[in-house]
């Protein structure tokens, strides 16, 4: 077991941008594989405690290739994330579009975000991962946050933690 917990940061850095960071106790080569290979993605991507199961997970990992992750929620039914890879640099950088399909019946390109994921090597065989999402408009990101699929503001959360602790 790792002694120190690797903290996640979630921040909306502008009206259209969202950044998630996290350090992992494995080298970039392994983290990159776990992040991209469908048979591995399907093992961690859905939060198991919330009644969500992965229905299918497909990815053609090359520039111009497509991916589609389909999952099913107890209450909300079948949904999917899909998109196309724009850049695939093994073990260091990944750029892809990302669309959320609330009904798994297809989505409009206009709502696609561009996601850039970097895998930086850190000492002791660790990887610092940065996932940067650029949304087509402020409204799309607002909606995404409001529906709880993406989003979060670490600073606001920390401030809220204090504020709400005192309200209890």
């Amino acid at each position: 077991m790792p002694s120190a917990k690797n903290e996640i940061t979630l921040e909306r850095i502008s009206e259209r941008e969202l950044v998630v960071t996290r350090t992992f106790n494995a080298p970039p080569r392994i983290v990159f594989d776990a992040w991209t290979r469908p048979e591995l993605v399907s093992r961690w991507w859905v939060p198991q405690s919330r009644g969500v199961v992965m229905v299918s997970c497909e990815a053609d990992l090359r520039a111009g290739g497509s991916y589609r992750y389909v999952f099913k929620h107890d209450e909300h039914g079948t949904m999917a994330f899909s998109g196309k890879y724009r850049e695939v640099t093994p073990h260091s950088r990944l750029v892809h579009t990302e669309m959320f399909e609330p009904t798994a019946q297809g989505a409009e390109e206009a709502g696609a975000a561009v996601v850039t994921v970097t895998f930086e090597e850190r000492p002791s065989g660790k990887t610092h991962l940065v996932s940067h999402s650029l949304f087509p408009s402020k409204e799309v990101l607002d909606t995404v946050i409001a529906t709880g699929m993406e989003g979060g503001m670490r600073e606001s959360m920390d401030q809220l933690d204090e504020l709400v602790a005192a309200l209890r």
């Binding site: 996290r22 494995a26 939060p47 607002d142």
Partner: protein, 118 residues
């Protein structure tokens, strides 16, 4: 939700809420304690009121502002849920990485040079 977040995204408005946590206060009192000019305080209070974060209660000749905790509680619950989602997802990834690392180390221990995917 977005309205609540937007209302909170300003340090002075957050300070006003922190202050109101300790009790309801009139505008001039808020301004004095936070060293803000009254028009500025009024402007912030209007945003907070529109977001449902404060209520105005007339007391004698004064308008007293009080904190409404409900939107904050809702927002907090949502943000916590969201952070927990990523936490859980990444905890699952951590487990998988440990497994992959263990597999990865076997050939090296046996001094076998395994050709790696490039």
């Amino acid at each position: 939700m977005i309205e609540t977040l937007a209302a909170l995204a300003e340090p002075n408005r957050l300070r006003i809420l922190e202050l109101l946590r300790t009790g309801s206060r009139p505008v001039n009192d808020i301004g004095e304690r936070l060293r803000l000019r009254q028009p500025q305080v009024s402007k912030h209070l209007r945003v907070l009121k529109d977001a449902g974060l404060v209520d105005v209660v007339p007391v004698a000749q004064q308008r007293v502002y009080q904190l409404r905790a409900q939107p904050l509680r809702q927002l907090h619950a949502w943000l916590e849920r969201y952070r927990a989602l990523w936490d859980e997802r990444f905890a699952q990834l951590d487990e998988l990485l440990e497994e992959l690392k263990a597999k990865d180390e076997i050939p090296e221990k046996n001094h076998v040079h395994k050709k790696r995917r490039k």
